[in-house]
């Protein structure tokens, strides 16, 4: 398999506390890989190890089949990244920060800075010192810096933090466009599962330093069972009717008015008819599909 990123049994602990425990991730060329997990799960630590910012206690990182070590400069030239938060030299302007980045990366195309500032919507404030930027603006600038040198691999640690809904949508579209048009492989971490779900081709679920599952989104959709969501006025009576009149036993009472029915042998129309006939007021009824969030909690047990 043509992997851009492959980790083999990565282990890292801090002061005796395990942060990453035997993580094996596999990111294919040209895909968007969503790294999902709660805060403190170990996502940033893994990403730091990919960039050789932190040394694993054991295990190894392979980027383009090359083991990452101190002199892996050719690999680093091919990567754009955001790690932890958007960090900048605050006393100089956004444009100067991007120009500095180009020089350190050995990328000489001044016109590209203008292009990127336009892409991330910061062209009108490029002359301001970064210390005067809002958090959202810094996040945009960090994304701009990550894509500046047209990298083959983007490693983005929680890139949508601090962005407003419009910004999140714009940046999501940008990542998709870069991935589609330039073939850039993207590894993106987030604790917001709906965000990962909307963008990723493959998802890695990490918790307490352990990679619990690595699965293609298409396969998650196969696993995800459809169900009928039913909201009624009298939940007891509805439950009784479902079980005794219709013979449905595979359902779950979610709240005082909400039931999820997993047995799909009876149609929505049929269920509503029975409830109406028995004077049970229906607030809402409809077929739903499980989300990545449902899958996530299913995996977590």
């Amino acid at each position: 398999m043509d992997y851009v990123i492959e980790t083999r049994n990565l282990v890292k602990s801090y002061k005796g506390k395990s942060a990453v425990d035997g993580v094996n991730i596999h990111v294919k060329k040209g895909e968007i890989y969503g790294f999902a997990g709660p805060n403190g799960a170990g996502k940033s630590t893994v990403m730091k190890m990919l960039l050789n910012l932190t040394q694993p206690d054991s295990g190894e990182v392979l980027l383009w089949d090359e083991k990452i070590e101190d002199g892996s400069f050719e690999c680093l030239k091919r990567i754009g990244s955001i790690i932890e938060n958007p960090y900048f030299y605050e006393k100089i302007t956004g444009r100067q920060n991007l120009e500095l980045h180009c020089e350190y990366m050995g990328f000489h195309n001044k016109g590209r800075v203008d292009e990127v500032l336009q892409t991330v919507g910061l062209h009108d404030i490029e002359g301001k010192a970064v210390s005067h930027y809002s958090m959202g603006m810094k996040q945009r600038l960090a994304i701009g810096r990550a894509i500046l040198t047209r990298p083959e691999l983007l490693i983005l640690d929680e890139p949508i933090n601090a962005l407003d809904p419009e910004g999140i949508r714009e940046m999501r579209a940008l990542f998709r466009r870069i991935n589609r048009e330039c073939g850039t492989t993207v590894l993106i971490s987030s604790h917001i599962l709906s965000e990962v779900e909307q963008i990723a081709d493959t998802v890695g679920i990490i918790q307490s330093g352990k990679l619990l599952k690595e699965i293609a989104m298409a396969d998650i959709h196969k696993y995800q069972t459809d169900y009928i969501e039913l909201e009624v006025e009298d939940i007891r009576r509805a439950g009784y009717l479902l079980e005794h009149d219709m013979g449905i036993s595979d359902f779950k009472v979610i709240s005082e008015s909400m039931i999820e029915i997993y047995d799909l042998t009876k149609a929505v129309k049929e269920i509503s008819a029975v409830l109406v006939r028995n004077d049970v007021g229906i607030i809402g009824i409809g077929k739903k599909q499980g989300s990545l969030e449902d899958y996530f909690f299913q995996v977590l047990g």
Binding site: Y14, K48, L51, N52, L53, T54, Q55, D70, G71, F73, E74, L76, K77, I79, S81, I83, E84, N85, Y87, F88, Y89, E90, K91, I92, Q96, L100, E103, Y104, M105, G106
Partner: protein
């Protein structure tokens, strides 16, 4: 290395440190002049005047070194921009070394300019008012140059000690406070010596400790990011 040093200078407004250095030199000249023209009753010679200049420099330039060190190195760790620096295709140790070279070079040049300025002031004032015992001869001048060179080497070493101390916890406060402690230590050592100057053994020991501290810091502390 030269390219890295140039890039470092683009990140900070270096002009303010040049101004700070100029201010320190001007302050030193003021103190020297005040001491020469004052009526302390002490018989002044070129030798003890030179030692007074050194004493003033001791506190000023070690603090300049520590401040520069905090701005260029320690703040990269505190502001976490070091995470960005270390993702570049550049040797990480060279990144830090380029910063240290700027700090050391700038402090050394500031001290040279300071010595020249204060030396010219002392020689000029003595020529005009004849305040000092003896003549400002070539031998006196040669001794000044030798002593100034030794002092610059020792100060740069002590400055590097502040870098090593600051890197332990990546702390600006430790960097600044350690600079004052180290200069007190240096003053104690030279006060205890016969001619109130660093012996060759003290200089060699200082250089040796500096080399060991640099080895430890570069091998253990540079990559400590968490």
């Amino acid at each position: 290395m030269e390219r890295l040093m140039k890039l470092e200078l683009k990140k900070i407004h270096f002009r303010k440190y040049i101004l700070l250095s100029a201010l320190m030199i001007a302050l030193s000249m003021y103190f020297v002049l005040a001491e020469l023209l004052g009526s302390s009753g002490i018989i002044r010679t070129f030798d003890n005047t030179f030692r007074s200049v050194e004493m003033i420099f001791a506190f000023e330039f070690i603090i300049l070194f520590a401040v520069l060190n905090s701005s260029l190195v320690i703040s990269e760790y505190n502001n976490r921009t070091i995470l960005l620096m270390f993702t570049y295709p550049v040797d990480k140790k060279k990144v830090i070394l380029s910063k240290l070279m700027i700090v050391t070079f700038f402090t050394a040049v500031s001290m040279i300019v300071g010595y020249v300025s204060c030396g010219l002031l002392v020689a000029g004032v003595d020529r005009r008012f004849d305040l000092l015992e003896g003549e400002f001869t070539g031998a006196v001048f040669g001794d000044w140059i030798l002593q100034a060179s030794v002092t610059i080497i020792v100060f740069c070493c002590l400055g590097l000690w502040t870098f090593a101390a600051g890197m332990v916890k990546k702390s600006v406060a430790v960097t600044i406070v350690s600079s004052i402690l180290f200069i007190f230590l240096r003053q104690l050592v030279i006060t205890a010596s016969e001619n109130q100057r660093e012996s060759i053994w003290v200089v060699l020991a200082t250089v040796g400790i500096t080399a060991a501290a640099m080895w430890y810091t570069f091998s253990k502390k540079i990559m400590e990011l968490d």
